[in-house]
Symmetry: C2
Subunit: 205 residues, 2 copies
């Protein structure tokens, strides 16, 4: 990918700073509560300047979501190169990454409910392409893990895939962190364990 002229590079850096701010604010307040004024203030530029870079508040948020999915796709690609890592461990690694992001306040909350953002995302080719790319790869790992006996074959791969995605907006880590008595790593371990091993006691192998 060509870097373009110096001006274009400056532009990309600025837009990246905007998207980083949007990502953080989305994680903190969600799309509806976040205002464009806040974004402008956080970035340190005038609101009108924001609209020179992004056509709407939805486009602003969509850019953050695409960036997030790009990071997920990068992680998935990297895990795919590690021939020694099993599918189940790859799935756990992705889930752990999502939980880490969430606890670091960098996981924008997905709009599962009615929202103008949802409509924008469903019409965004970059977003949909990345989502499918990641989902396909995770789907392969899930099926492989089921064949190897590491994931319950009674569950449709769809159920497993959605369960992994759902960790990104799981309120449990936030509740535990709000309590203030556990370290982030401890929280992630517990949530990971409850997700893959369940709440019930495991029978002896």
């Amino acid at each position: 990918m060509a870097r373009g002229s110096f001006r274009e590079q400056v532009l990309r850096v600025r837009e990246d700073a905007i998207v980083v701010s949007v990502n953080r604010l989305l994680a903190e307040k969600g799309f509806e509560v976040m205002t464009v004024d806040e974004v402008a203030a956080d970035v340190g530029i005038a609101k009108a300047s924001l609209y020179k870079h992004f056509a709407s508040k939805e486009a602003l948020a969509a850019a953050a979501m695409v960036r997030l999915l790009q990071r997920a796709a990068d992680l998935v690609a990297e895990l795919g190169t590690q021939a020694t890592t099993s599918s189940i461990d790859r799935l756990k690694a992705v889930t752990r990454w999502a939980l880490d992001m969430q606890l670091a306040g960098q996981m924008p909350s997905l709009p599962s409910q009615n929202s103008t953002l949802r409509a924008e995302l469903m019409a965004n080719r970059d977003y949909l392409d990345l989502l499918m790319q990641v989902s396909d790869r995770l789907g392969e790992w899930i099926v492989d893990a089921q064949q190897r006996g590491d994931i319950n074959p009674a569950l449709p791969p769809e159920v497993v895939l959605y369960s992994v995605y759902a960790r990104a907006c799981d309120p449990v880590p936030g509740f535990l962190k709000a309590g203030g008595q556990y370290a982030d790593e401890q929280i992630v371990d517990w949530v990971l364990a409850s997700c893959f091993d369940g709440l019930a006691t495991r029978p002896a192998a």
Copy 2:
């Protein structure tokens, strides 16, 4: 509890109709996207009349949340009378109820993020009392189930409690229902299984 005069009974019925509408709209769109105009239109009265019953949009939503918690408390109390039901089965029954409510479009989405509603709820005694009442009872069952070897004793009861609560806003059932190829009961069974037994294969007992 006294029923009061006829006028007061009519009032209660009307307010209940309002709260039912609010509950459904909260489940459908969430607090931020829901508008008071929509509520008024759905109930079939003027917006100003709504404000004779409830002081604000937050109070409106809080009433719906209190009603939801009241139902949860009723269910928990009823389960508590069934001496033959084990703690783990009681916990599963509560979780199943939450999933049923969600699939029926009657589970208002909890405001885990920044929201004026959250502040209102944290100042609402009815809400907090009910929440503590339900949490205490669920907590007892969790500890008992751990002692009986039905719930993983390595998990703090807090983690288990939050995991049960989190099923109320789990996006997985909604995703599966949106796919349209599974019956509601099937979806609930899968989500329940993944919650208590985990995604990983269970070793032979």
